[in-house]
Every structure is written in C-alpha cells, then in structure tokens.
C-alpha cells in the first residue's frame, strides 16, 4: 500500500467503501492504530504502513438504544456494541440482523460493509455494522 495515502479517519472510511478494514502500523515502534492517525501516540513517529485487518471478532459489551437522536429514530430500537477483533483492536458499531434479546457478550461477529442510510449530509461515509459470523 502506498504511503502517499494519508493516515486519516476519512481514509479509513474510504477503504471501507472498497470493502477493506484497514489499520495503520507505525514503522518505528510497531504499534497498530485503528483508527489511523497522522502521528503515533506511542513514539511520535509519522512513518506508517497500511495493513488489512480481520473483520471477525467477539462482542465485548452492548446496549439497545430506545431514545435516539433524530437521524436514527426510524431505527429504534437498535443494538450497538463494542467488538474486539481477532488482532485485539476494538471497534464500536451497530449490531444488525440479531434480535436484541438474543445478543450476548462473547458472541462471534463480523464486520459487514453496508448499513443503514440515515440521510446524513456530512460526513457521507460508508457505514459498517456487525453481523453474526
């Protein structure tokens, strides 16, 4: 992967639109950043390389939202959680296709690169969600 591609949150979402879950590895100290950032918070290095990471993981915790901001109200109730990926990195997101009462901590989930359109004008990023593996 070219290092000319900026190591930014926006670029993370651009990769998602291509169906790739990408993290940035610091070349100096080896720390893997998800989301990527322009400077390593561990060693202050700025030399990164992109690496594709597994979208599979297990659910660390969850909640089902009943009172939502305006743009998400049509989805209520919806479940969100934090997933620990196979490499130890973590991502939060919606859990779809599973009834709230069936969601359990520790269940195996995987990233899916499409989700609801909530009619947002900015930022117009690709969304992701988590589904059963």
């Amino acid at each position: 992967m070219s290092t000319q591609v900026p190591f930014t949150i926006e670029q993370f979402y651009k990769f998602l639109a291509e169906g790739k879950l990408m993290a940035a590895k610091c070349q100096k100290c080896g720390k893997i950043h998800l989301p990527p950032r322009p400077m390593c918070d561990n060693c202050y290095g700025q030399d990164f390389v992109w690496m594709e990471v597994s979208g599979k993981g297990k659910l660390l915790t969850y909640t089902t939202i009943h009172v939502a901001p305006q743009q998400f109200q049509s989805l209520v109730p919806y479940t969100v959680g934090i997933v620990e990926l196979e490499n130890g990195l973590k991502l939060p997101g919606m859990i779809s296709g599973i009834p709230p009462e069936a969601v359990k901590i520790g269940m195996a989930l995987k990233v899916e690169f499409k989700a609801c359109d909530v009619g947002q004008t900015w930022p117009q990023w690709q969304r992701y969600c988590f589904k059963l593996t």
Binding site: P69, P92, I105
Partner: protein, 396 residues
Amino acid sequence: MGNQGLNGKPLVSIVSAGLSKFGKHEGLYARELFSYAAKEAFDRCPKLEPKRDVKAMFIGHMGEAYEHQGHTGSAVADWAGLLGVAATRTEAACASSGAALRSGIFAVLSGLADVVIVGGVEKMTHRSTSEVTEYLAMASDYPFEQFHGITFPGLFALMATAHMNAYGTTQEQMAKVAVKNHHNASLNPKAHLQKEITVDKVMESKMVAWPFKMYDCSLITDGASCVVLAKPELAAKYTDQPVHIVGSGQASDTIGLYERKSLTSLQATKTAAKTAYDMAAVSPAQVQVAEVHDCFTYAELMAYEDLGFCPVGESGALIDSGETCLGGRLPVNTSGGLKAKGHPVGATGTAQVYEIYLQLTGQAEKRQVKDAKLGLTHNVGGSGATATVHLYRSDA
C-alpha cells in the same frame, strides 16, 4: 503523579457559594440564570465587594447549541455585575465546571489573583429530548460513536452491561442508587425532582438504553452554580467558616470508549483521585461525605470503585449495604445528585462543590451529615475522557 508534598495544606479556600434553583426555568437565558447563583454567593459573604475583590472568573458551559450562544464567560460576568473582570469559559463536557474549579485554583495558587469566581451554567429544558440527546452525544467520539448511533446513555449502558457480565451487578442494585438519590433530593429544596421513588418504579419506567430505564438517567435541567475562592491567607477576611480545598486532581482518557483498556472503570477518575488523595494526604476511608458523578445509576456504582470506597466489583454490595445513604458510613450524593437534583451539564461540577460547602459548614439542614469535616467531589466529562476529583476540609 505521587505525593505533591502539600500534605493537606490548603490550595485555596472557599469563602462563599451560591446555587440557582435546579429545574425548568422557562424564559430565562443561561446568563440570567447564573445571576441567581452569583446573587446567593454575594449575599452569603457580605464582606466581599465583588467589583473590587474578584479578579477572574472561570465559567463551565458545555454547549453553544442549546441557546445558539457561545462566548459565555463574558456574558455571564456582565450579568453577574462583574463587567470588566477577566472571564473565561471552560469546556470539558459535563466536567466543564470541574475544570473551571481547577482553573480557579491555578489562578489563585499562581498568585495572579487573590479572589476568583468559578461556576457553571446550562439551559437545557427548552429543547426536545431528541435535540438534547444529540447535543450531549457531541461529547463522545463523533466518527466512531455518534456516527453509528451511539448515544450518551448508550455509552454508560455499554459500561453497565460489561460490569453486570463481569461481576453479577444487577439492575435492581442500580435502581437503588436512584431510590437513594431521589430520597436525598426530597430533602433538598433546590433539587429538580423532590419526590421519592421505589425500585419497582425504576424497573417499570420507559427503556432508554438497555439496561437503563428513564429513572436510571439524570435529568435534563436548567441551573447555575457559583463558588468564591480566595487565597487561604485571606480567607478569614471574608468568612469565619472557610472550607479549604486540600486536594485537586484532573485527568484525561481516550474520547472513544472503545479504545479503553477497561469498560467497567474510568482510568481518568482513578488517576485524578490518586492525585487528589496524595495531595491531601488522606485515604478514601477518611472521606465523610461525597458528591459523585451519577449521570446514570451505574456511574455512581463505578465511582464507588474508582474512588476507592469499595473493592473492584463490590459496588453493588455497597449500595445494598445502605452505607452510602444518609445516616450511613459514607453518605454519597446528599444533594440528590445529578440523578434527582438535576444535571445542567456545565453547572454540575461546582453544584457538587456547593453541596459539600453546605455540608462542611453545617448548613445542609435535613441532609446534614453529622460532624462532616472531610468531603469529596467527583465530576466526569463525556464517557470518562475527563475527570476531576477534589477534596475539602473544614477546620471548624
């Protein structure tokens, strides 16, 4: 951080404090609301000449969105009769006035100002629940939390679910926090909700973000708080009953909950508490009364553990024991807390100071903790990306 070498020496002294009634104030702007808190603080301290003595103000205010109004520091100073004073708004989400207090301490300790006002204000009730939910969520990580529909109650619910899973904490134990704090608020004439509730009422209330029901959540409230700080050597000039701040800690953490090592505790609270305890040379067991950040019922249980009031995983047992109720070993949130007194976000940190000031000067009336001499406040911003912890001592 370690011991700061101060060993309980006062950093600053509180010589007065004021609080607006918390609740729904239709037709009042934030700056107008603050003037009520300032008026009470001025009236309590007749020897203070505000225009002469006050050299700086730090005002906690979280959001422009509520009133389309930023630049709150100067507006509040003007409406408090202090036009011309160096006034600055501080923002750290729901810890905005905890941060204002820290700024005030910095100002006095530096020697740049002998007397400063710290306080906070938020006007929220004129907005819809949906709007307030969105504005509060702005204190979380936008690209990964808000963007995926995660709300503020949702973030604390994620922590509560993890704690239930790890330690067997129950929804009923969380509900007991609400019952206790509503009872305390029923004794506080300035509280937003002055009514008792039961565990059943909590359990039957409308779901907000599982496992949190409506009665697990703090209130959308209008309110303002004001505290007058003075250099300790000058405190006697203003009052016979100064309350000394003897420990001050503040820490930060990742803005996104998902990046934290622990989902059941707040590292920022633990770090801030260690700094404050070391500075004051006291242990958690010595604290006699505490106002902790109970934005949601689980947040109070988490605070018990992070502040060292009980071992990790045993906060459910602590609320069951009744030790944190009025009359118990360590009464917590005697004011009614954010849960029932109300949570006008920018005002909350110094509203906690107001309650401890009343307690340590023997002015808490029906809520008075007998012979309280050492108090603690704990103010959290966002889902724990900021925390401030302060310790207070009265010598009377």
